[in-house]
Protein backbone atom coordinates (compact mmCIF):
# COMPACT_ATOMS: atom_id res chain seq x y z
CA UNK A 1 0.00 0.00 0.00
CA UNK A 2 1.25 3.44 -0.95
CA UNK A 3 0.54 4.71 2.60
CA UNK A 4 3.21 2.43 4.03
CA UNK A 5 5.80 3.14 1.33
CA UNK A 6 6.02 6.91 1.27
CA UNK A 7 6.46 9.37 4.12
CA UNK A 8 3.20 11.19 4.78
CA UNK A 9 3.17 14.99 4.67
CA UNK A 10 3.02 16.01 8.36
CA UNK A 11 0.57 18.81 7.50
CA UNK A 12 -1.93 16.22 6.21
CA UNK A 13 -1.27 13.95 9.21
CA UNK A 14 -1.75 16.74 11.74
CA UNK A 15 -4.82 18.13 9.97
CA UNK A 16 -6.42 14.65 10.18
CA UNK A 17 -5.46 14.32 13.85
CA UNK A 18 -6.92 17.80 14.51
CA UNK A 19 -10.29 16.82 13.00
CA UNK A 20 -10.36 13.65 15.14
CA UNK A 21 -9.31 15.71 18.16
CA UNK A 22 -12.41 17.88 17.69
CA UNK A 23 -14.52 14.71 18.04
CA UNK A 24 -12.54 13.81 21.17
CA UNK A 25 -13.19 17.31 22.54
CA UNK A 26 -16.93 16.82 22.01
CA UNK A 27 -16.99 13.33 23.53
CA UNK A 28 -14.54 13.39 26.43
CA UNK A 29 -11.89 16.07 26.17
CA UNK A 30 -9.03 17.15 23.90
CA UNK A 31 -6.00 14.99 23.09
CA UNK A 32 -3.79 14.87 26.13
CA UNK A 33 -0.69 13.03 27.25
CA UNK A 34 0.69 13.15 30.78
CA UNK A 35 -2.40 12.30 32.81
CA UNK A 36 -2.25 8.75 31.47
CA UNK A 37 1.45 8.48 32.28
CA UNK A 38 0.84 9.78 35.81
CA UNK A 39 -1.85 7.16 36.30
CA UNK A 40 0.54 4.48 35.01
CA UNK A 41 3.18 5.74 37.46
CA UNK A 42 0.62 5.53 40.28
CA UNK A 43 -0.47 2.02 39.29
CA UNK A 44 3.14 0.83 39.09
CA UNK A 45 3.98 2.47 42.44
CA UNK A 46 0.89 0.82 43.96
CA UNK A 47 1.96 -2.58 42.61
CA UNK A 48 5.40 -2.15 44.18
CA UNK A 49 4.58 -0.31 47.40
CA UNK A 50 1.04 -1.61 48.14
CA UNK A 51 -0.62 0.25 51.03
CA UNK A 52 2.62 2.11 51.71
CA UNK A 53 1.60 4.38 48.81
CA UNK A 54 -1.01 5.95 51.13
CA UNK A 55 1.86 7.60 52.97
CA UNK A 56 2.37 9.83 49.91
CA UNK A 57 -0.71 12.13 49.93
CA UNK A 58 -0.30 13.03 46.21
CA UNK A 59 -1.62 9.58 45.27
CA UNK A 60 -4.78 9.92 47.37
CA UNK A 61 -5.47 13.65 46.94
CA UNK A 62 -4.43 14.50 43.36
CA UNK A 63 -4.17 11.21 41.43
CA UNK A 64 -5.73 8.15 43.08
CA UNK A 65 -4.62 5.31 40.76
CA UNK A 66 -7.40 3.88 38.54
CA UNK A 67 -6.83 1.48 35.64
CA UNK A 68 -10.01 2.63 33.85
CA UNK A 69 -8.74 6.19 33.28
CA UNK A 70 -9.21 6.88 29.54
CA UNK A 71 -6.06 8.96 29.14
CA UNK A 72 -3.92 5.86 29.76
CA UNK A 73 -5.36 4.30 26.62
CA UNK A 74 -4.52 7.24 24.35
CA UNK A 75 -0.85 6.60 25.14
CA UNK A 76 -1.11 2.83 24.75
CA UNK A 77 -2.97 3.44 21.46
CA UNK A 78 -0.13 5.66 20.19
CA UNK A 79 2.38 2.91 21.00
CA UNK A 80 0.20 0.36 19.19
CA UNK A 81 -0.50 2.58 16.15
CA UNK A 82 3.18 3.47 15.76
CA UNK A 83 4.14 -0.21 16.09
CA UNK A 84 1.64 -1.21 13.38
CA UNK A 85 2.85 1.63 11.12
CA UNK A 86 6.50 0.73 11.65
CA UNK A 87 5.99 -3.00 11.04
CA UNK A 88 3.77 -2.48 7.96
CA UNK A 89 6.30 -0.11 6.41
CA UNK A 90 9.26 -2.33 7.38
CA UNK A 91 10.65 0.44 9.56
CA UNK A 92 10.62 -1.49 12.82
CA UNK A 93 14.03 -2.34 14.15
CA UNK A 94 15.70 -2.13 17.53
CA UNK A 95 17.57 1.12 17.91
CA UNK A 96 19.88 1.44 20.91
CA UNK A 97 21.73 4.68 21.80
CA UNK A 98 25.45 4.00 21.34
CA UNK A 99 27.15 6.56 23.54
CA UNK A 100 26.99 6.92 27.29
CA UNK A 101 26.42 10.67 26.82
CA UNK A 102 23.16 9.92 24.96
CA UNK A 103 21.92 7.72 27.80
CA UNK A 104 22.75 10.47 30.30
CA UNK A 105 20.95 13.16 28.26
CA UNK A 106 17.88 10.94 27.77
CA UNK A 107 17.77 10.17 31.50
CA UNK A 108 17.98 13.84 32.51
CA UNK A 109 15.50 14.80 29.77
CA UNK A 110 13.01 12.15 30.89
CA UNK A 111 13.24 13.21 34.53
CA UNK A 112 12.71 16.88 33.63
CA UNK A 113 9.72 16.03 31.43
CA UNK A 114 8.04 13.91 34.10
CA UNK A 115 8.65 16.45 36.86
CA UNK A 116 7.60 19.37 34.60
CA UNK A 117 4.36 17.74 33.47
CA UNK A 118 3.18 17.21 37.04
CA UNK A 119 4.28 20.63 38.23
CA UNK A 120 2.27 22.25 35.41
CA UNK A 121 -0.66 19.75 35.46
CA UNK A 122 -0.23 19.51 31.68
CA UNK A 123 2.21 18.48 28.97
CA UNK A 124 3.07 19.90 25.58
CA UNK A 125 0.24 18.14 23.71
CA UNK A 126 -2.39 19.70 25.96
CA UNK A 127 -0.58 22.99 25.50
CA UNK A 128 -0.58 22.98 21.69
CA UNK A 129 -3.72 20.97 20.97
CA UNK A 130 -5.89 21.57 24.06
CA UNK A 131 -5.26 24.72 26.11
CA UNK A 132 -4.15 26.97 23.23
CA UNK A 133 -7.13 26.22 20.95
CA UNK A 134 -9.48 26.59 23.96
CA UNK A 135 -7.76 29.94 24.51
CA UNK A 136 -7.10 29.01 28.11
CA UNK A 137 -4.91 31.49 29.97
CA UNK A 138 -2.72 28.54 30.94
CA UNK A 139 -2.05 27.86 27.26
CA UNK A 140 -0.23 31.18 26.87
CA UNK A 141 1.74 30.65 30.10
CA UNK A 142 2.63 27.10 29.04
CA UNK A 143 3.53 28.15 25.50
CA UNK A 144 5.90 30.87 26.80
CA UNK A 145 7.38 28.33 29.21
CA UNK A 146 7.98 25.62 26.63
CA UNK A 147 9.47 28.02 24.07
CA UNK A 148 11.82 29.43 26.72
CA UNK A 149 12.67 25.89 27.86
CA UNK A 150 13.26 24.62 24.31
CA UNK A 151 15.51 27.63 23.70
CA UNK A 152 17.57 26.95 26.84
CA UNK A 153 17.60 23.24 25.99
CA UNK A 154 18.85 24.02 22.48
CA UNK A 155 21.61 26.24 23.92
CA UNK A 156 22.75 23.42 26.22
CA UNK A 157 22.56 20.96 23.33
CA UNK A 158 24.60 23.22 21.02
CA UNK A 159 27.27 23.65 23.71
CA UNK A 160 27.41 19.89 24.13
CA UNK A 161 27.68 19.37 20.36
CA UNK A 162 30.52 21.86 20.20
CA UNK A 163 32.20 20.05 23.08
CA UNK A 164 32.35 23.14 25.31
CA UNK A 165 30.90 21.38 28.35
Amino acid sequence: MEFFRKTLDPIIALAAIAVLDIFMFLLMGAWTVGGGETMMTGLMAQAVLGDELNRIPFWSVVFPPHADYWKIYISLGMLFGAFVGAVASKEFYWRVPRHLSEWVLITIGGLLMGFGIRLAYICNVSTFFGLMPEMNLGGYLAMSGIIAGAWVGSLIYKKLLEGDV
Partner: protein, 216 residues
Amino acid sequence: MTPVVECLVAFLFGSVAGLLMQRSRFCNTAALRDAIMFKTYRNTKAMLVAMMILTIGFTGFMSVGAGHPLQFDVGLNTFAGLFLFGIGMVLAGACTVSTWVKAGEGNIGALWALIFTFVGMFLFSLVWSASWWPPAPQTMTGQINAPALQLGFANAQTLQGKLGVPAIVFGLAQTAFLALLYRGILRREAAQHAEHEKHQKEHQKKKAAKAASVAA
Protein backbone atom coordinates in the same frame (compact mmCIF):
# COMPACT_ATOMS: atom_id res chain seq x y z
CA MET B 1 -20.37 7.01 28.27
CA THR B 2 -19.15 4.23 30.53
CA PRO B 3 -15.45 4.21 31.47
CA VAL B 4 -14.88 1.13 29.28
CA VAL B 5 -16.31 2.87 26.20
CA GLU B 6 -14.22 5.96 27.00
CA CYS B 7 -11.09 3.81 27.20
CA LEU B 8 -11.94 2.14 23.87
CA VAL B 9 -12.53 5.49 22.12
CA ALA B 10 -9.27 6.81 23.60
CA PHE B 11 -7.37 3.73 22.40
CA LEU B 12 -8.83 4.10 18.90
CA PHE B 13 -7.92 7.80 18.76
CA GLY B 14 -4.44 7.08 20.10
CA SER B 15 -3.88 4.30 17.55
CA VAL B 16 -4.83 6.48 14.58
CA ALA B 17 -2.76 9.39 15.92
CA GLY B 18 0.22 7.07 16.55
CA LEU B 19 -0.03 5.62 13.05
CA LEU B 20 -0.27 9.05 11.40
CA MET B 21 2.65 10.39 13.42
CA GLN B 22 4.78 7.35 12.64
CA ARG B 23 4.07 7.67 8.91
CA SER B 24 4.68 11.42 8.82
CA ARG B 25 7.63 11.49 11.29
CA PHE B 26 5.87 14.36 13.05
CA CYS B 27 7.44 15.37 16.33
CA ASN B 28 6.41 18.20 18.66
CA THR B 29 9.96 18.52 19.95
CA ALA B 30 11.28 18.98 16.42
CA ALA B 31 8.56 21.59 15.78
CA LEU B 32 10.20 23.85 18.37
CA ARG B 33 13.81 22.62 18.39
CA ASP B 34 14.34 22.67 14.60
CA ALA B 35 12.84 26.14 14.30
CA ILE B 36 15.17 27.41 17.05
CA MET B 37 18.36 25.48 16.24
CA PHE B 38 18.28 24.82 12.51
CA LYS B 39 15.73 27.34 11.15
CA THR B 40 13.78 24.54 9.48
CA TYR B 41 10.03 24.46 9.82
CA ARG B 42 8.64 21.15 8.48
CA ASN B 43 7.08 20.18 11.82
CA THR B 44 6.35 23.74 12.96
CA LYS B 45 4.06 24.29 9.95
CA ALA B 46 2.13 21.08 10.65
CA MET B 47 1.71 22.09 14.29
CA LEU B 48 0.41 25.54 13.30
CA VAL B 49 -2.10 24.04 10.84
CA ALA B 50 -3.45 21.71 13.56
CA MET B 51 -3.67 24.62 16.01
CA MET B 52 -5.64 26.72 13.50
CA ILE B 53 -8.14 23.92 12.79
CA LEU B 54 -8.51 23.20 16.51
CA THR B 55 -8.92 26.85 17.51
CA ILE B 56 -11.83 27.27 15.10
CA GLY B 57 -13.31 23.87 16.05
CA PHE B 58 -13.00 24.24 19.81
CA THR B 59 -14.06 27.88 20.12
CA GLY B 60 -16.89 27.25 17.61
CA PHE B 61 -18.35 24.51 19.79
CA MET B 62 -17.57 26.42 22.99
CA SER B 63 -19.70 29.30 21.65
CA VAL B 64 -22.75 27.03 21.93
CA GLY B 65 -21.62 25.45 25.19
CA ALA B 66 -20.59 22.10 23.66
CA GLY B 67 -17.40 20.14 24.32
CA HIS B 68 -15.24 19.36 27.31
CA PRO B 69 -12.61 22.09 27.78
CA LEU B 70 -9.84 21.51 30.33
CA GLN B 71 -10.70 23.05 33.69
CA PHE B 72 -8.07 23.78 36.27
CA ASP B 73 -6.35 26.81 37.74
CA VAL B 74 -3.12 27.98 36.15
CA GLY B 75 -0.28 30.06 37.49
CA LEU B 76 3.47 30.22 37.91
CA ASN B 77 3.65 26.41 38.02
CA THR B 78 2.20 26.24 34.48
CA PHE B 79 5.05 28.35 33.12
CA ALA B 80 7.75 26.73 35.30
CA GLY B 81 6.58 23.17 34.58
CA LEU B 82 6.60 23.63 30.82
CA PHE B 83 9.93 25.43 31.04
CA LEU B 84 11.47 22.32 32.65
CA PHE B 85 9.60 20.17 30.14
CA GLY B 86 10.98 22.22 27.23
CA ILE B 87 14.58 21.70 28.38
CA GLY B 88 13.88 18.02 29.01
CA MET B 89 12.34 17.31 25.64
CA VAL B 90 15.27 18.85 23.72
CA LEU B 91 17.81 16.89 25.82
CA ALA B 92 15.84 13.65 25.47
CA GLY B 93 15.26 14.33 21.75
CA ALA B 94 11.55 13.55 22.07
CA CYS B 95 8.46 14.65 23.97
CA THR B 96 5.98 12.36 25.68
CA VAL B 97 4.14 11.74 22.39
CA SER B 98 7.17 10.95 20.29
CA THR B 99 8.63 8.74 23.04
CA TRP B 100 5.56 6.48 22.68
CA VAL B 101 5.74 6.63 18.87
CA LYS B 102 9.49 5.99 18.77
CA ALA B 103 9.18 3.22 21.36
CA GLY B 104 6.64 1.63 18.97
CA GLU B 105 9.30 1.70 16.24
CA GLY B 106 11.73 -0.21 18.48
CA ASN B 107 13.69 2.74 19.87
CA ILE B 108 15.14 1.66 23.23
CA GLY B 109 16.35 5.21 23.98
CA ALA B 110 12.73 6.44 23.76
CA LEU B 111 11.61 3.67 26.10
CA TRP B 112 14.35 4.73 28.51
CA ALA B 113 13.13 8.36 28.33
CA LEU B 114 9.63 7.12 29.09
CA ILE B 115 10.78 5.14 32.13
CA PHE B 116 12.50 8.23 33.50
CA THR B 117 9.42 10.34 32.77
CA PHE B 118 7.61 7.98 35.14
CA VAL B 119 10.43 8.33 37.67
CA GLY B 120 10.26 12.14 37.33
CA MET B 121 6.52 12.02 37.99
CA PHE B 122 7.03 9.87 41.06
CA LEU B 123 9.71 12.25 42.35
CA PHE B 124 7.27 15.12 41.88
CA SER B 125 4.63 13.23 43.88
CA LEU B 126 7.09 13.16 46.79
CA VAL B 127 7.88 16.88 46.45
CA TRP B 128 4.17 17.73 46.22
CA SER B 129 3.38 15.67 49.30
CA ALA B 130 5.85 17.82 51.23
CA SER B 131 4.90 21.21 49.74
CA TRP B 132 1.21 20.76 48.76
CA TRP B 133 1.91 23.19 45.87
CA PRO B 134 0.53 23.79 43.30
CA PRO B 135 -2.97 23.60 44.83
CA ALA B 136 -4.80 20.27 44.49
CA PRO B 137 -7.77 20.30 42.06
CA GLN B 138 -10.22 20.16 45.00
CA THR B 139 -8.89 23.43 46.42
CA MET B 140 -8.81 25.34 43.12
CA THR B 141 -11.08 28.36 43.18
CA GLY B 142 -10.98 29.58 39.58
CA GLN B 143 -10.02 33.00 40.96
CA ILE B 144 -6.70 34.75 41.39
CA ASN B 145 -4.93 33.29 44.43
CA ALA B 146 -1.82 35.40 44.99
CA PRO B 147 -0.31 33.51 47.97
CA ALA B 148 -0.41 30.26 45.93
CA LEU B 149 0.89 32.10 42.83
CA GLN B 150 -2.28 31.15 40.92
CA LEU B 151 -4.05 33.22 38.28
CA GLY B 152 -7.26 31.18 38.31
CA PHE B 153 -9.20 29.90 35.34
CA ALA B 154 -10.05 31.66 32.06
CA ASN B 155 -10.68 30.50 28.51
CA ALA B 156 -12.69 31.50 25.41
CA GLN B 157 -15.90 30.42 27.16
CA THR B 158 -15.35 32.53 30.28
CA LEU B 159 -14.50 35.46 27.98
CA GLN B 160 -17.81 34.90 26.19
CA GLY B 161 -19.61 34.91 29.55
CA LYS B 162 -17.90 38.10 30.72
CA LEU B 163 -17.96 40.16 27.51
CA GLY B 164 -21.03 38.73 25.78
CA VAL B 165 -19.04 38.16 22.59
CA PRO B 166 -19.23 34.60 21.16
CA ALA B 167 -16.10 32.50 21.82
CA ILE B 168 -15.64 31.90 18.08
CA VAL B 169 -14.85 35.61 17.56
CA PHE B 170 -11.80 35.28 19.83
CA GLY B 171 -11.01 32.00 18.12
CA LEU B 172 -11.01 33.64 14.69
CA ALA B 173 -8.70 36.38 15.98
CA GLN B 174 -6.27 33.76 17.32
CA THR B 175 -6.48 31.80 14.06
CA ALA B 176 -5.67 34.96 12.09
CA PHE B 177 -2.60 35.46 14.29
CA LEU B 178 -1.49 31.85 13.76
CA ALA B 179 -2.06 32.28 10.00
CA LEU B 180 0.22 35.34 10.04
CA LEU B 181 2.91 33.27 11.77
CA TYR B 182 2.45 30.58 9.12
CA ARG B 183 2.80 33.14 6.33
CA GLY B 184 5.95 34.48 7.98
CA ILE B 185 7.44 30.99 7.93
CA LEU B 186 6.54 30.51 4.25
CA ARG B 187 8.25 33.80 3.40
CA ARG B 188 11.33 32.86 5.36
CA GLU B 189 11.45 29.51 3.58
CA ALA B 190 11.15 31.23 0.21
CA ALA B 191 14.03 33.54 1.16
CA GLN B 192 16.13 30.55 2.29
CA HIS B 193 15.36 28.82 -1.01
CA ALA B 194 16.33 31.88 -3.08
CA GLU B 195 19.58 32.22 -1.12
CA HIS B 196 20.36 28.57 -1.70
CA GLU B 197 19.72 28.89 -5.46
CA LYS B 198 21.95 31.97 -5.62
CA HIS B 199 24.81 30.14 -3.89
CA GLN B 200 24.44 27.20 -6.23
CA LYS B 201 24.49 29.40 -9.32
CA GLU B 202 27.60 31.20 -8.09
CA HIS B 203 29.25 27.90 -7.36
CA GLN B 204 28.43 26.64 -10.86
CA LYS B 205 29.75 29.84 -12.44
CA LYS B 206 33.02 29.51 -10.53
CA LYS B 207 33.30 25.88 -11.57
CA ALA B 208 32.68 26.78 -15.23
CA ALA B 209 35.25 29.62 -15.10
CA LYS B 210 37.82 27.27 -13.57
CA ALA B 211 37.16 24.64 -16.24
CA ALA B 212 37.47 27.30 -18.97
CA SER B 213 40.82 28.55 -17.58
CA VAL B 214 42.16 24.99 -17.41
CA ALA B 215 41.03 24.36 -20.99
CA ALA B 216 42.68 27.59 -22.13
